[in-house]
């Protein structure tokens, strides 16, 4: 059980790390949101599952936290994306946008 919990905690940490890497590598804000939301949601869920295996008496609280994350994470991301779209931030396009940005610079 201890080993299984450690493995799941490690998986959660790895996905969260990949999410952070995604924030750094992605070219524009919409893609960053995508990378961040998905990775952090699954990362947090597997961290909670790992904690649940280590401390089974906490399962009910962990379940509530997991539900909270599942509901609020995507809403937050969509809200940020919507605000950006309304503010007129254009999604990054392959090649065309890069050249026009270089022209401006």
């Amino acid at each position: 059980m201890r080993l299984l919990a450690d493995i799941i905690l490690l998986i959660g940490a790895t996905f969260t790390l990949l999410g952070a890497l995604g924030l750094l590598r992605m070219p524009d804000v919409y893609n960053r949101i995508q990378a961040g939301t998905k990775a952090v949601t699954l990362g947090a869920l597997s961290l909670l599952l790992g904690i649940g295996l280590l401390y089974p008496e906490w399962w009910s609280k962990l379940l509530v936290i997991a539900l909270m994350i599942l509901v609020t994470n995507p809403i937050g991301s969509s809200t940020i994306a919507r605000a950006l779209m309304m503010a007129g931030v254009k999604p990054w396009k392959k090649v065309e946008t890069i050249t026009s940005e270089r022209d401006q610079a």
């Binding site: 996905f15 070219p27 998905k38 609280k61």
Partner: protein, 175 residues
């Protein structure tokens, strides 16, 4: 949809009861014990929250509260979790590959779900599916951002496929 005042009153009561039970259960799960003081304060808190959210109760009218809704709900959860895991593996592959394979695009798609609760759940599911992010939700149209438009295929039908998978299970328990 035309409902008599009596039916509306009944619907309002059952939605209120649903919210009350939901909040009470959440309280018990968070407190983690069944001591009398916890149960009583849970009942008080649930009553206050239910009364305070009276104006928002129609949100639950999108929910199908019947035993027949349980099976679609479970199959929806299974589909959703599988999609979430695939989304992460897909994202991990993109982030780690040196060439950063991306071809973003934005597309609009219509949903056949009628209730705002159903549309909310659908929009959230789309955000956590591989490669898609819900940008805006207005009426029955959902604006979706793609990390990588599937090559060779028509973007509209690709998006249709993504939403169809969830809608098929969602119609079982929301309107």
């Amino acid at each position: 949809m035309s409902a008599t005042p009596a039916q509306q009153e009944e619907a309002r009561f059952s939605h209120g009861l649903f919210l009350f039970v939901l909040i009470f259960l959440l309280w018990l799960m968070l407190s983690g014990n069944l001591a009398l003081a916890e149960v009583v304060s849970g009942l008080v808190v649930a009553s206050v929250v239910t009364l305070a959210s009276r104006p928002h109760l129609p949100l639950f009218s999108g929910l199908r509260l019947s035993p027949a809704a349980i099976l679609p709900f479970i199959s929806y959860l299974a589909v959703f979790l599988a999609a979430l895991i695939r989304a992460n593996l897909d994202m991990a592959r993109r982030v780690l590959s040196p060439s950063l394979p991306l071809n973003p695009g934005v597309v609009e798609v219509k949903t056949r779900l009628k209730s705002s609760l159903g549309r909310l759940i659908l929009a959230n599911s789309i955000t956590l599916t591989p490669g898609t992010l819900t940008v805006d939700l207005q009426g029955d149209s959902i604006l979706i951002h793609w990390v990588d438009i599937p090559p060779g295929s028509d973007i509209e039908s690709a998006t249709r496929d993504v939403t169809d998978i969830f809608e098929r299970h969602l119609v079982g328990f929301v309107k």
